[in-house]
Symmetry: C2
Subunit: 228 residues, 2 copies
């Protein structure tokens, strides 16, 4: 039975997003192999049935191997499929979105580049569509959930977190409303006695994610992110 339908290529692709220079940026990887060898594309690869527990595991492996990133926020985005999207044949790509703070990134590998999602180069396959889909998802979830915290480091101030929301949403947000919202979401807590220092101004309270919200590996969609 299983041998009757072997001719579908099963892959994962990952849209890894971070905040650089105030922009939401995506990691692109220069393809070594055909098709589209030499072109910038999303990091991705075949599912390894022998090694991967499931598709999320495969996506995590791709992130480790191609971006040097471990245990980021990882969420299933959607699956792109069909006869036309890959010249090698009928293919399935299970796409994931991953968020990492810039500080958690390793020194950039030579085959990899960051590009702002608003100024993307031409991408092979349907990768442009996948990135757009990812950005739309992250934007939508920023409206009602705490998703953008995963773009901040382990310790962050509320103004930094607000800047992360603003970068994702692409527009300024009201400070008072923002703090009210973060407060009711209840997903961050002040670090006792920890403040920023150095600026010629009042120091800011440092916060961290509450324990229950660290290491999120949601299967997909609306997860545990204390949505409204």
């Amino acid at each position: 039975m299983a041998r009757e339908h072997p001719n579908v290529l099963c892959t994962v692709d990952v849209v890894l997003l971070t905040l650089r220079d105030g922009d939401l940026q995506v990691l692109l990887h220069r393809r070594a192999a055909e098709p589209f060898a030499g072109a910038l594309a999303l990091p991705g690869g075949y599912i390894h049935a022998q090694a991967d527990l499931d598709a999320a595991d495969a996506a995590a492996r791709v992130l480790r191997d191609k971006a040097g990133v471990r245990s980021p926020y990882l969420e299933q985005l959607a699956t792109f499929s069909g006869a036309a999207r890959d010249p090698r044949g009928w293919s399935v790509s299970i796409a994931y979105v991953a968020l990492v703070p810039e500080a958690a990134l390793p020194p950039p590998a030579e085959a990899a580049t960051w590009k702002p999602v608003e100024r993307l180069p031409a991408l092979p396959f349907d990768h442009r569509q996948i990135v757009d889909h990812a950005v739309a998802r992250v934007r939508a979830k920023a409206q009602y959930s705490s998703l953008p915290v995963h773009l901040c480091g382990e310790r962050f101030t509320l103004p930094q977190l607000q800047a992360a929301y603003e970068a994702v949403l692409g527009e300024p947000v009201n400070k008072v409303s923002f703090r009210r919202k973060i407060d009711e979401l209840g997903i961050v807590e002040p670090i006792d006695g920890a403040f920023t220092a150095g600026g010629a101004h009042r120091p800011a309270q440092l916060y961290r994610l509450r324990k229950a919200f660290r290491h999120v590996l949601s299967t997909s969609g609306r997860g545990l992110n204390s949505g409204a």
Copy 2:
């Protein structure tokens, strides 16, 4: 290259939902083949690379063949994968949610049964998880979009539409707020001069979906459904 990773089973499964007796119900299909022959499960099947354009097309084919349903509202749900979910081996199931009005259903085939999503029998594979995921998705989208209109027929009254929302959400909704919301969503229009008749009470205005919102075949996630 393609021949190196052939051992992943590619399938689609469909959670077909409708409104029966005031309940949200899901179509279950009695399996003819092993594994789990004779058990009730979600309608699904292998992707046919020769015949299907993409996974959504495969899902539509499954719905035609196993439920006799044509061109319903069809939306990608999520993809379930891994070594453990199917005894035949490492598998990928691209799951879809479909909504149909009860009136658009053909006479029930003998291998198929409807079950309320709140009183499901035991299901094989991870189908229980898939159904729960689908119900959660439909509930979430009912909060801010016009999704439940696809459970109503071609012509419907606002009280009927409200009942559809209430069945999906599992709780009563405020009549005034409901009508305000439907009005701002702007996705339905009154049918000029068409009213219900027969009851011992005031007739209700009949509505229909606006042209732009018919035949939705969203790839996934938050689509064209005029979300808020």
